[in-house]
Amino acid sequence: MSDKMAPFREVVSNRHEWIAGRKKETGRKLAGYFCDYVPEEVLYAAGYDTIRITGGVGNVEKADNHLQSNVCSFSRRCFEQALQGVFDYLDGLVVPHACDVITKMYDLWAYRMESPDFIHYVWVPHKVFDKNAQAVMVGEIKRLKKELENHLGTEISDDSLREAIKIYDETRRLMKRVYRLRASNPPVISGRDAFTVALASILAPREDFNRWARDYLAEMEGKESSLERRPRVLVTASMLEDLDLIGAIEDSGAWVVADDVCTGSRYFWDEVGEDLEKPIDALAKRYLNKLPCPRSVGSMAPRREHILSLGDDYAVDGVIFYILRCCDAQLFQYPLLNQRTREAGHKVLYIQGDQTAGINEAITNRVKAFTEILGE
């Protein structure tokens, strides 16, 4: 096992303390954001390091006073931590129009919490592929930029946006290379390591992450695999921050080699690119045309294509749908996506996720049974 994995592991396993400590060292402001539709590059250009809001696994007590159990456990856990003061290290928070529940994260946070002092809502169309979507997304990115400029009393230049885009695009390229380490059979790295690196990419400051990833790839690329051949699994999910699931799959005798997850491939698969004459236009185009969240109109076809194309490229044997309870967008797409995935020759397992319960014995047993079937 490479010691170049150590920084990724540390930031993932000890995220809040690590981030708060790192913030003191760098002296930079820190902005949190939900989901993968917030153009982080604007925040970075304004002088913030960015961190994705994660819920972790655990009980919900305080947030039960605001959100009932028909709301997904991810959101309830996030607000639970907010009420506990876990996110007190934030200087800013940006919430996108993702789904009904994430939208309410903004309403609740803005109304019930006193910090951070900068809080902003970005309206992102559901119709991301609509011909009129670009103009409204450009408008929303400009509004975010203007609000940040008013709040900070400084101008955010096009050059600083271009610089931010280059840094974030580097992360995307590095992450794709990390993922390619599992294309061989057997893979060079485990799914647990790949997911740990991916989670670190949404938590750690950009310069830190890019440096760690470059060092890690320098050691791992071109290396012969020391792992055994096993059945190969793709996981599709919304948030997947409970790495115990990946652990359960790999402990049962399979490798997780690919994913369609918003904390995984959907986060970094698409770059902004080189055409940066109008950086805000380029950002809008990237965020609208990226691999879509299931909440977006027209997301079924690209999701299906992504899953099946990864299935081919990464020689996948089985697909696991990990759907958080009450995630309507995923649940409505599941029956047909399941059908199409089976038609393409993959075996499928459905697991209902719950971040208040974690990965229990029943899930572990079902995963074991699935892996046995894949191995037959």
Binding site: N65, H66, L67, Q68, S69, N70, V71, H97, C99, D100, V101, T103, K104, Y106, D107, L108, A110, Y111, R112, I119, Y121, W123, P125, H126, K127, D130, N132, A133, A135, V136, V138, G139, E140, R143, P294, R295, V297, G298, M300, R325, C326, D328, A329, L331, F332, Q333, Y334, P335, L336, N338, Q352
Partner: protein, 444 residues
């Protein structure tokens, strides 16, 4: 599920059918039947187009294009009140839809999977040529409609309405006009591009209708229908104004039924005639101080979707001397708004919370029933905040009642009735000691 269990469950679930008090509202059952019969009759006519629509989609453009619309959410209520919801719900669940998903959606998908059976309540919804929905209120429907589009292989139009939160951190501000849209704010002045996108979506909706129907929109006819629809809305606002009176001449047991023509056939002579007669009846009752209950002891707002298979719950409050005066999901705008001696400092975290707080003020109410359908996130993600804000800002108690809107298997009668009895004691006591004066527009 066996036939026997089905019939027992349905019988049990139908134990508390709602009782309407007014003469005019007794006509609704026939109006709904006629609505479905008319569609069944015209479905084979040459060129006749059928649409399945989300409830918040503007109806007038379809009326102007002679498109016959069905509303799957409304049909869910038909199945829940007149048929056997388990038949379709269980079919959808066997197919892969989860129990935690929207009950209306499970009924509709089950109905499609059953092959549009002719013995479905009121003959069912005929196969559509197009599907239209909007993101307003709930974005679950976007996925539901897309799924139906794939299953039925017909074009889908999503009319996207950019819902925005209030500016700043002090929550919503709300006016009487905002009550027309249950406090939902579409677009915002500091984000004019969102309003532009909303306008483009409406234009796209018209274009979609023209493409599917193969003809141009008659702008003059649309304007006439919108004018007629505006008149119906005005009459409904007048009726709501009368409901502020103490005792209230019309409560939600009648209003949940009476909403049908206004919601589904707004620009029609039938709707105009129905509400004109209803207005006269409500006014007469108000002038003669004829209330829903003889000695009105407490007044409530209903927030959320009612339990359609159990509308008798609304009447239960009447047996205890109270009345559910108004509901906030299906249009609670009146001619006027506000009460100068009962103005909260804040209205809550967003417009939907604010609309319930405002309804309690505007309709001189003592508390609220907050229905809680665990399968619906869009409406119910606000309910806890509504409860807190009512208490913080008005000292008004509220009761969260849990059950699915169309799936009777989720209803726990014993527990529900015992919680209602306990709540009635609290709210009746509160009503005896009102620290505010009821208010109505003087000219009424």
């Amino acid at each position: 599920m066996s036939e026997l269990k089905d019939s027992e469950e349905v019988k049990k679930a139908n134990r508390m059918r709602g009782k309407k008090h007014l003469k005019t509202t007794q006509e609704i059952s026939q109006i709904v039947k006629d609505y479905y019969a008319e569609r069944a009759e015209k479905v084979g006519d040459p060129g006749q187009k059928i649409a399945w629509c989300g409830v918040a989609v503007p109806k007038q453009p379809m009326q102007a294009m002679d498109v016959l619309a069905y509303y799957p959410e409304q049909y869910g209520t038909v199945v829940a009140t007149r048929g056997n919801p388990f038949r379709f719900i269980s079919r959808a669940e066997e197919w892969g839809l989860s129990r935690e998903m929207c009950g209306y959606a499970r009924i509709t998908i089950g109905y499609i999977l059953e092959g549009f059976p002719e013995d479905a309540p009121l003959g069912g919804m005929k196969r559509p040529d197009m599907l239209i929905t909007t993101t307003a209120v709930c974005d679950t429907r976007v996925k539901w409609w897309e799924l139906m589009g794939e299953m039925l292989e017909v074009p889908v139009y999503v009319l996207e309405a950019p819902e925005m939160p209030p500016i700043g951190r002090k929550g919503a501000t709300i006016t009487g006009g905002d009550m027309e849209t249950a406090g939902i704010q579409i677009g915002r002045k500091d984000a004019p591009h969102t309003m532009g996108f909303g306008g483009q979506n409406y234009a796209g909706y018209i274009k979609f209708l023209e493409d599917v129907c193969g003809k141009k929109m008659d702008a003059k006819r649309l304007a006439e229908i919108q004018k007629a629809s505006g008149r119906v809305s005005k009459i409904r606002r007048e009726i709501n104004e009368y409901r502020k009176a103490i005792p209230t001449p019309m409560g939600s047991a009648d209003a949940f039924a009476a909403m049908f023509p206004g919601m589904y056939m707004p620009g029609t002579p039938l709707a105009d005639d129905f509400y004109s007669r209803l207005r006269a009846e409500v006014k007469e009752r108000m002038d003669n101080k004829i209330g829903i209950v003889e000695d009105e002891k407490f007044r409530l707002v209903w927030s959320g979707i009612p339990f359609w298979y159990n509308l008798g719950l609304i009447n239960y409050f009447e047996q205890k001397g109270g009345v559910v005066v108004i509901d906030t999901a299906y249009g609670c705008a009146a001619q006027s708004s506000g009460n100068p001696n009962r103005e909260p400092e804040k209205w809550g975290m967003n417009g939907m919370v604010a609309s319930v707080v405002k309804a309690v003020v505007d309709y001189n109410c003592d508390g609220a029933i907050l229905s809680y359908t665990p399968t619906c996130r869009a409406l119910y993600v606000n309910q806890m905040e509504i409860q807190h804000t009512l208490m913080e800002e008005l000292g008004a108690p509220s009761l969260l009642l849990e059950s699915d809107m169309v799936d009777p298997s989720s209803f726990n009668e014993a527990q529900t009735m015992s919680r209602i009895d306990a709540f009635i004691e609290v709210v009746a006591e509160k009503a005896k000691q009102r620290k505010w004066t009821p208010y109505m527009k003087e000219q009424l």
